[in-house]
């Protein structure tokens, strides 16, 4: 996990602070290439901030981040964000229809999305044709999350950052999305970093895990550390006693 040579993303002593409030402290560690790493920890641990750092939406206040062994600062921000896709829990949408949202990543590159491609992507996330020309304001929370995932997949990123993307979904949909992400990982060796509050989900889908609390990484390793770790804070978190 700490070998940056096999890492899709490597953090080296990364701090992030805004308006004198420290959000992340001395983060060091790697996300292995072609693997699924789950990111778990209590609310306010700094997980979403960490994902935004990987996508280049924000920059570290100290330390370095390496993407495929190259410093993140050496990447053109636009190219970086197309290679490192992010889907946020809040599933933000642009005003308009589902189709307009799906077409957005391509439109930003002056390309067009065909209706056939859009329907194919919708089917991937378990949504049906009638929704395609529906206004996004009329979607349920779960539907929005699915559209958000489908939109993120449009750029065919090498690395996918997923922030609690199944939190508003019913159990069947959760299973469908988990399978979709696992398939993507197997078929294209896409590196996945997945924030989840669901420890069962973390164990089911993840190869590796990072456990975070109070802006720090308290343990990283293969997924079974969630059950076998001797770290007291990890044990307290798994038992639900780490605020």
């Amino acid at each position: 996990m700490n070998d940056s040579a096999t890492a899709a993303i490597h953090f080296q002593e990364v701090d992030y602070a805004i308006f004198d409030v420290t959000i992340l402290k001395k983060i060091t560690g790697s996300f292995p290439k072609g693997k699924i790493t789950t990111l778990v920890g209590p609310s306010g641990a700094g997980k979403t901030t960490l994902l935004k750092l990987c996508n280049g939406l924000i920059s570290p206040t100290a330390g370095d981040i390496f993407i495929n062994e190259e410093p993140i600062s050496s990447y053109d921000p636009i190219q970086l964000r197309r290679r490192v896709g992010i889907a946020l829990q809040s599933a933000p949408m642009i005003q308009g229809t589902v189709f307009q949202n799906l077409a957005l990543p391509l439109e930003l590159q002056n390309k067009k999305l065909t209706e056939k491609e859009a329907l194919h992507k919708l089917a991937d996330v378990g949504l049906a044709q009638p929704i395609l020309h529906q206004k996004v304001d009329d979607l349920s929370g779960g539907q929005r999350q699915k559209v958000s995932i489908a939109r993120t997949l449009m750029n065919r990123a090498d690395i996918l950052l997923l922030d609690e993307i199944t939190s508003a979904l019913d159990p069947t949909s959760v299973h469908e999305i988990e399978q979709l992400i696992i398939d993507l990982n197997c078929k294209y060796e896409t590196t996945i970093i997945w924030i989840t509050h669901n420890l069962q989900q973390a164990r089911t889908i993840g190869h590796y895990t990072w456990i975070m609390a109070d802006g720090e990484v308290i343990e990283t390793g293969e997924i079974d550390i969630l059950t076998s770790s001797t770290n007291k804070r990890v044990q307290r978190f798994v038992q639900g006693n780490l605020a």
């Binding site: 805004i18 308006f19 996508n55 280049g56 939406l57 924000i58 920059s59 600062s73 921000p77 636009i78 190219q79 964000r81 197309r82 896709g85 992010i86 946020l88 809040s90 933000p92 949408m93 642009i94 005003q95 957005l104 990543p105 930003l108 590159q109 939109r151 993120t152 750029n155």
Partner: protein, 251 residues
Amino acid sequence: MTYLTLSITLIFVLIPLFLSKTLHLQLEKDTIIATVRSIIQLLAVGYVLKFVFEAESFFFIFLMVALMIAVATDNARKKGKTIKGITWKIAITLVVIEILTQSILLGFGVVPATAQYIISISGMVIGNAMVLAILFLNRFTAEVEARREETELILSLGGTPKQAVRQPLIDAIKTSMIPTIESQKTIGLVQLPGMMSGQIIAGADPVQAVQFQLMIVFLLLTNAAMSSVLLGFLSYPTLFNERMQLIKRKR
């Protein structure tokens, strides 16, 4: 009009003072300050204009226009404090609009190149552009803040800052232009514009007054479009840093 007859019109100040006192609106102090300030400012401007008109010097005309731009800039910049370098951006916008307007009017001989015309028209152009700049900045900063998630979404998908801020920018430009367009739809039917009324009161031919007013109406349309578009395109890049990240500002 003599100063004696002018003083009679102070009755129009006494009425709101009386109402404020009776209804406990507590606006007496502000009303008196506003009245005294308007008397002093307008009389001072009147004498300054008299001097400039008689001097017929382009230096004084330039000085008057520069002063107007400086005061308008100072007034408008307070609404865009979150935008870096806003003072210069407003000043550049006002200067460009003023140069464009005067070049067309003087270049085509629409109005003579005298202090009376240049200063009066500049006052209307700069004053109007200032109001539009304030409207635009108010709306633009609010739109960017309210649509922060949407802006970051577009950036996160690999969009440029220009693509990310396009919708808030367009909405702010439209919002600041709408009052000008709407008021022009009812011009002459609901309100008689100040300049036209002034000319008619001063004894000018009403048709001649209407012609001048139409010129101002057309001019203000350009003014409305140019001021918000120019200011918008000058302002939006400062909302992002060199890594194309939306800068978060402390409230």
